[in-house]
Symmetry: C2
Subunit: 253 residues, 2 copies
């Protein structure tokens, strides 16, 4: 019987991105790795699922301890297909990333990287997402690497309760340590660039700036990142605002 | 000065769907209505944003108390564009739906309807999503209508704290009343139908069944719906699992 952990990897930057290649290399010493990832970029795909088109996937590599599948769907589709159609047992851990760009603060709800993590979490699989503050094609993961390995090892050892996963983000460059933090309150602003097309019509590109509503909050993930720490936000898929239930019950409904 | 509430409407079934047409009719007596919705179905689009393609929108109707815009983006794109590029003031309320099909339990994370609601919530706008247990093209909204109107009126009167929105679902047919509930724990199973194409390749359609992990929990939204009640789940966009922070701090990170 194979006692090595089964590690499912995915991401939202696509199967050929540096982030998932680096993650694959980091995870192979920890167990048997199955990569099931989108065939190209799916940034900002959140928990989107593909319901109006058929989905396909192909095995593109198989060797000792590593199998890789490429899929035309979203990150969430990838996790669903891996669990339903490919793996013969539940993975011990799902790791998503390493995303090129942060998924801190409210970005957790837009992130395809974290969408895949939530999908694993819903299915009672230990699930972690990793992201780095570098949108370039070839980020330097060397400072982050020992933290990624340690966090996954520790998670495999300690486990998490049902419905809770980890959103891990790293600053660029040297790292001072780890802060367990909460999701920073904030929003996006100036989100579009308006352009004219050659026929006089107009169109918009999404862009924008994140506005941090609480830049001084030292327990927030944005603060930790700005100060040079890796932020680890325990994140739950039950979005119920329990503290508001009594309030809403007092409404005349 | 115009003192009528400004009401922003969107959905994920598309601007011509029965659900948003019904919602528009219900909301017009309550204020000035701006509809900004996708030009076709965007079910399962979650909080997806369009970052790799340009986005366009067109004004398709304008009359006293009502303006309608059609957009090629996701529900979340629609809210962002409406707030950034179209409206000259912050809406008093954002209402999304009425979705053809439930967004109860874990479906809140896949739902384009609720993605739009979260986008409003992030921007400090009172935001509510409405869905009905009927996937057909022409649901009967007549039983739900008085509840929709009353819930929006009451929300405008009472407000919600920052970061909290409402996820409102209705059963099909007669309604016994309203239950303020929490998100039911559960997951999807048997999610794909495998088919062969004429060239011998295979592809998958997403389908599946929701497995309710706690069918007897009388405080859950699935229970309320099954018993004939409208479920109102106060929902928060801060996904931090606060109760796990001390636990994770004890890990060797």
């Amino acid at each position: 019987m194979n006692m090595r952990p089964l590690i499912l990897l995915t991401n939202d930057d696509g199967i050929d991105s540096d982030g998932i290649l680096a993650l694959t290399r980091m995870m192979m010493p920890l167990g048997d790795v199955v990569v099931f990832a989108p065939d190209g970029p799916r940034s900002g795909q959140s928990n989107a699922i593909t319901v109006t088109q058929p989905i396909r996937f192909n095995k593109i590599q198989e060797r000792e301890g590593l199998v890789r599948y490429s899929c035309n769907g979203t990150p969430t589709d990838c996790v669903k297909l891996a669990l339903n159609e490919v793996l013969d047992r539940k993975p011990d851990v799902l790791v998503s990333g390493i995303n090129h760009g942060l998924n801190s603060a409210i970005n957790v709800i837009y992130s395809g990287t974290m969408g895949a993590v939530f999908e694993g979490c819903e299915n009672d699989i230990l699930a972690l997402g990793f992201s780095i503050d570098d949108h370039s094609q070839h980020p330097n993961f060397s400072y982050f690497e020992p933290f990624v390995t340690r966090i996954v090892r520790e998670a495999l050892d300690r486990k998490l309760p049902y419905g809770v996963c980890l959103n891990v983000n790293a600053p660029r460059g040297e790292i001072k340590g780890v802060k367990v933090a909460r999701q920073t309150r904030g929003y996006w602003t100036k989100e579009f660039e308006r352009r004219s097309d050659p026929r006089g019509g107009f169109y918009f590109w999404m862009t924008g700036f994140f506005h941090n509503e609480e830049p001084e909050a030292s327990d927030s993930d944005e603060w930790a990142l700005r100060e040079g720490y890796v932020s680890v936000v325990p994140t739950r898929i039950d979005m119920t605002a329990y503290d508001q239930m009594e309030n809403i019950r007092s409404w005349k409904l």
